[in-house]
Symmetry: C2
Subunit: 344 residues, 2 copies
DNA sequence: CTGTTAGCGCATTCAA
DNA sequence: TTGAATGCGCTAACAG
């Protein structure tokens, strides 16, 4: 019984030559039998497979990789401490790769360039087939450079270098989407409360909002209000805003957190959502969006799809398929809930 | 210029024999020079290092691993979709391993046993040095068995098999901690609202609460209220509870989400927190805990430390140090904020 | 159909 | 101090 309770490795792992010996065949035949390659007599194959099972043989992927030059591994290099973006992206990538086909090294650089370089070296040393770099905002980040011998794709945060391959959410389109939905809900006095102006996400969403308002022949009520990405700011900003412009009937919030703050203030002010005021936000972070009163209509960045696309780009590059450099913008999708349309 | 804009691998990666050739030494000498092993003349070493830098040689870790039997990689096998638990644990593990020393394969089984098995096989095939299994609740989970040739540690969700090595939060102690704090805050009419009774976390926390109340000579007001782990339930349950027992002055909430719901209802009922009612919760999920009015006093499960400990256990087992089997309970820590003690 | 041979990139004897 | 030879576990030519 090969039971090792402590979990410590007991003895050598079985090798292919062990299998071959037991099955009474040569190494090469055993290899072919196990991999279904070459012409092997059915009976022989059977013997080999049984022998393999008997000693619970697991092929050593390291040796295989050494030969064919591919490891079937990909590095995910991130600085997204909270894992809010990286996890959906990771899941998307796993989907695209196929479970168990490709494995992902997850490295957290914690926003530290030195640590990032360490991790990058470690990944290259382990001969990953490709690298996905996931930032924690949609602001462009420094490129890893072009001296990397494997394909690199930047996800969420695009690279500053336009000759790199980047995929990032289309926040501008998202801003449009938000306004178009509010307008479709019959709103015309629309205000915007969002995060810090230094973030590209805040700017882009605001730009999209202005575009769509213009197209609808409307004007924003007041000016876009930029500050913290927090519930506190959502509460404070909406209080100020409604004091100044009591007839606002629609709010675009830069994040679900801000929207939660807005809802709080609406409750305090006795404004009913969505009847008096409709609220749309960004991120569709379920934990926030589906637990509020009412639940939040929010724009989902499709991060999982973003992960899938990044993985696909990596594959294409590995296979030699040309991958167009530049920044690709992935549109979000509107998830409608009670903050814009009341349940019947 | 070794610039490859498309990111596709250009040509072969440099090998040690390339370096040796350029430096005009043998393979063996080059190896020794690069690894600082054996006696190599200073001048020779210099030449080798320069040659290596010149062609940006990166040692192939696969080949090394093949030789010394260790890959310097660890698998993190999880079913924690949202990444709420797994990320801190991953970070702790990375800390313990040392950045760049050990790399972590993150695999998400999505609660599917088949997929888990696939991933497990893939990890073993890649010859990880150890495996950390991270569950999504503190309920015991099936063991992976003892036919695994590398050390396995179960984190967060312990293994059902007592001969495995598991580390899990001490929820019972957490429950005690919550009550002791409320009592220290001068509360004596304490109620509990928590998640689904089928969860060990709900039960254990409730047990700890009862223990501590008993020790303090107090009784719980009403019975522990078990249902969803949601804000909705927090709101509804506290409304019911306060209607029945208007003199409650302290609430233990089973999660930050539930606590948020409680705060909402307190506001609706015109009860001031923490003056009239103090609220303690579990998880210390910052996004929820630090954005409420007031901020939440919450019990942090010390997940990062849990990750570090899991990694340490793996190391010990690899090194042959005996690791005591069984379930280790890691105490949480109380993070005090405005929901129990008002800011001055 | 099966077995022999030659590496993949590297670390490590052991001679020289 | 250096180098030639051996092998880690496996696959891919080839030859039998």
């Amino acid at each position: 019984m090969s039971d090792n309770r402590t979990g410590t490795a007991g003895g050598r792992a079985a090798t292919l030559s062990d299998v071959a010996k037991i099955a009474g065949v040569s190494l090469a035949t055993a290899s072919k039998a196990i991999n279904g390659r070459g012409e092997v007599a059915a009976a022989t194959r059977q013997r080999v497979l049984e022998a393999a099972k008997k000693i619970s043989f697991t092929p050593n992927e390291l040796a295989r990789s050494l030969i064919n030059g591919r490891t079937g591994t990909v590095g995910l290099l991130t600085s997204d401490l909270e894992g809010r973006f990286v996890i959906p992206i990771l899941m998307g990538a796993e989907d695209a790769f196929g479970a168990g086909q490709v494995n992902v090294f997850l490295c957290d650089a914690r926003g530290d360039a030195i640590r990032e370089q360490h991790h990058l070296n470690a990944l290259l040393t382990r001969r990953v087939d490709g690298i996905i770099v996931v930032g924690r905002s949609t602001d462009p980040r420094p490129s890893l450079g072009h001296n990397i011998p494997v394909p690199v794709v930047y996800a969420y945060a695009p690279s500053e270098d336009p000759t790199d391959v980047s995929i990032t959410p289309d926040n501008r389109a998202g801003g449009r989407l938000a306004v178009e939905h509010l307008v479709a809900c019959g709103r015309s006095k629309i205000a915007m409360i969002t995060g810090e102006a230094v973030y590209a996400a805040a700017q882009d969403r605001a730009d999209g909002v202005m575009d769509a308002l213009g197209d609808a022949g409307l004007e924003l009520v007041g000016r876009p209000m930029f500050s913290e990405w927090s519930e506190h700011w959502g509460r404070d900003a909406s209080a100020m805003l409604f004091r100044q412009f009591p007839d606002i009937d629609g709010v675009v919030a830069g994040s679900d957190q801000i929207a939660r703050g807005v809802l709080d203030t609406m409750r305090d002010l006795g404004r009913e959502v969505p009847h008096d005021v409709a609220v749309v936000s960004f991120d569709n972070w379920e934990i926030l969006a589906t637990n509020s009163r009412p639940e939040l209509t929010s724009i989902d960045a499709n991060l999982q799809q973003l992960g899938r696309m990044a993985a696909t780009r990596i594959f294409d590059a590995i296979d030699g398929t040309a991958v167009a450099p530049g920044v690709e913008h992935l549109p979000g999708r509107l998830v409608i809930r009670g903050s814009t349309i009341a349940r019947r």
